[in-house]
């Protein structure tokens, strides 16, 4: 898929008419993600209950790729377990580095189309923004859980 096609077929729709761009009523966790050099700036808002992502949204501003990528990510991870979301995030980031398998990439559905961006170093940070922010949330969340369970021992 060439770049213009990628915009036309996927990015524009998610950028101009995002499903998940609004402030969540009662998120359990909110994290801000920023790309200083581009000015991309989003807040990722998730509701995590018993290890499940039951709802999620994002808000903020940035280029079409950062916005669309965050919106597509939320399509994928809402309703999934934290573990599954993390695994997807891992696949996505590896896809952008050009290190994921065909099969893994297919598992990302629509977001697979963003692999084009792996050839555009200046856009890599944009396409990663939502995913990296999600990854950080998961990491912190697990750290606090791990902490918790240790205390119980």
């Amino acid at each position: 898929m060439d770049l213009k096609q990628m915009y036309r077929e996927i990015v524009n729709e998610h950028n101009l008419h995002p499903t998940h761009k609004y402030d969540l009523e009662q998120p359990t966790v909110v994290l801000r993600g920023v790309n200083p050099s581009c000015g991309d700036d989003i807040s990722l808002q998730l509701k995590i209950e018993d290890g499940m992502i039951t709802d999620g949204s994002f808000n903020g501003s940035g280029c079409a790729i950062s916005q669309a990528s965050a919106d597509m990510m939320l399509d994928l991870i809402i309703g999934k377990s934290e573990e599954e979301a993390q695994k997807m995030g891992d696949i996505f980031l590896r896809m952008i580095k050009g290190e994921a398998t065909e099969e893994e990439i297919e598992s990302l559905d629509e977001a697979a189309a963003l692999q084009n961006v792996s050839h555009m170093p200046a856009r890599v940070k944009c396409v990663q923004l939502g995913w990296r922010t999600m990854g950080e949330i998961m990491k912190e969340d697990q750290a606090s859980h791990a902490d918790g369970s240790h205390h119980e021992d």
Binding site: D2, L3, K4, Y7, R8, N12, E13, N15, L16, S37, C38, G39, G62, C63, A64, I65, M120, A122, R123, C126
Partner: protein, 403 residues
């Protein structure tokens, strides 16, 4: 078709439109050949050699210094220090002159449209010495009023750090008048010529700059060679910056005495091949001539601004006068992030820059987080301008807007 384009191997592919010349220019065959010739016939470590190649390398290197001095109107070749780029030149001035001669309570006047390379070194000097940064504010079109200049430059001013031409708006500043104001108050003026030296005749003596810097790579020369001009008496009074080989006379275990200016400031093996490339670039620019360069840039800028005016949803920043742009046109497309605009244009093999252009304080002042910038040089053509604007006119549609 522009006759000069044929000299640039990379530009021979007519599919590409290179409009990022303010970031770096392309190099003509003549420059690449000069560097090859150096490596194939006289490559050696210059300055200390006692054999033919080293002697010739020394001649080539010092000849490049003479040529550079003439190019910018310096009185003596020894007022030219070779560096890596304009950024290093500015850091050299800040570290060596700034840390030595700026005192607590002094003011350093910096214009709001400076490139980061002429801001950060002065923030460092201010922090280390206790001096204060004072900002020259520009008008909406990016110009500076003499009134603002006269107000901000006072007896407390020790340094005025200012670009002759802004890399975002392309607008030249009245350096001679600003230098006079600085000197009236006993301050020195550090002129960032990164965007002026490639586009206009520079005469450091006439403008009375105390320091003047530029980069070779923005002037057809190879990457890795830059220039610092400094008035002889200032360079002589300054301590060295980088120290090591080639810049000393005596070294004992405890101390060292330094070579004469300009070698005092050129530590380690010099980039002789880079200097040779710069000399060839200066020759090439001399052959093209600044009359032609300005004429061509103005013609292309006028055409570009006219064509941009025909496309809806486009905002052009800076002066309305094409002569005030040095080939640089900065703009935005409503609702479209500059990075997306650049990516779409890239799909049509058009090279422009998008982002903050290393001038965040100016963009903060303009209240935009990023812009698109098309910057042209004498080898660009009207045909390229038409193809560029035709492509740009489709960007909003490509980004999903009902055009």
């Amino acid at each position: 078709m522009n006759e000069y384009k044929q000299d640039f191997p990379i530009l021979r592919d007519p599919n590409y439109i290179y409009f990022d010349n303010a970031a770096t220019t392309q190099r003509p065959r003549q420059v690449l050949d000069a560097v090859e010739h150096f490596y194939q016939t006289e490559n050696a470590n210059p300055l200390r050699g006692l054999y033919e190649w080293s002697v010739r390398a020394t001649d080539a290197y010092e000849g490049a210094r003479e040529k550079t001095a003439k190019f910018i109107g310096a009185r003596k070749a020894s007022e030219i220090v070779f560096t890596r780029n304009a950024t290093e030149s500015l850091n050299l001035v800040a570290y060596s002159w700034g840390r030595t001669f700026v005192r607590e309570g002094d003011e350093i006047v910096v214009s709001v449209s400076e490139h980061h390379s002429n801001i950060l070194p002065w923030q460092m000097v201010a922090k280390e010495t206790g001096a204060k940064l004072v900002w020259l504010e520009c008008e909406a079109d990016g110009s500076y009023k003499m009134e603002e200049i006269e107000n901000k430059i006072t007896d407390r001013t020790r340094v005025v750090a200012i670009a002759e031409v802004s890399n975002v708006l392309g607008q030249p500043k009245p350096i001679r008048e600003i230098a006079a104001a600085a000197h009236r108050h006993g301050a020195i003026i550090v002129v960032d010529g990164a965007q002026s030296a490639p586009h206009r005749r520079v005469d450091v003596t006439d403008m009375d700059a105390d320091f003047f810097v530029f980069s070779g790579h923005k002037l057809l020369a190879p990457m890795g060679i830059g220039v610092l001009y400094g008035k002889a008496e200032l360079l002589e009074a300054m301590p060295p910056f980088l120290t090591g080989g080639e810049m000393i006379e005596y070294v004992t275990r405890e101390d060292a005495t330094y070579a004469e200016v300009p070698h005092k400031f050129e530590a380690g093996t010099v980039n002789a091949a880079g200097a040779v490339g710069l000399a060839a670039a200066i020759d090439y620019v001399g052959q093209v001539g600044f009359d032609f360069i300005s004429e061509q840039e103005e013609k292309l800028t006028a055409l570009l601004m006219e064509e941009l005016g025909k496309i809806p949803h486009i905002t052009v920043y800076g002066s309305k006068d094409p002569a005030d742009h040095c080939g640089i046109v900065t703009f935005n497309v409503d609702g479209c992030h500059p990075h997306d605009v650049a990516s779409i244009l890239d799909a049509d093999h058009i090279c422009i820059r998008a982002g903050h252009h290393c001038a965040q304080p100016l963009l903060q002042y303009m209240k935009v987080s990023a812009t698109c910038r098309a910057s042209m040089y004498f080898y660009n053509t009207e045909d390229e301008v038409y193809r560029f604007t035709a492509s740009l006119a489709k960007v909003r549609e490509e980004l999903g807007y009902g055009s």
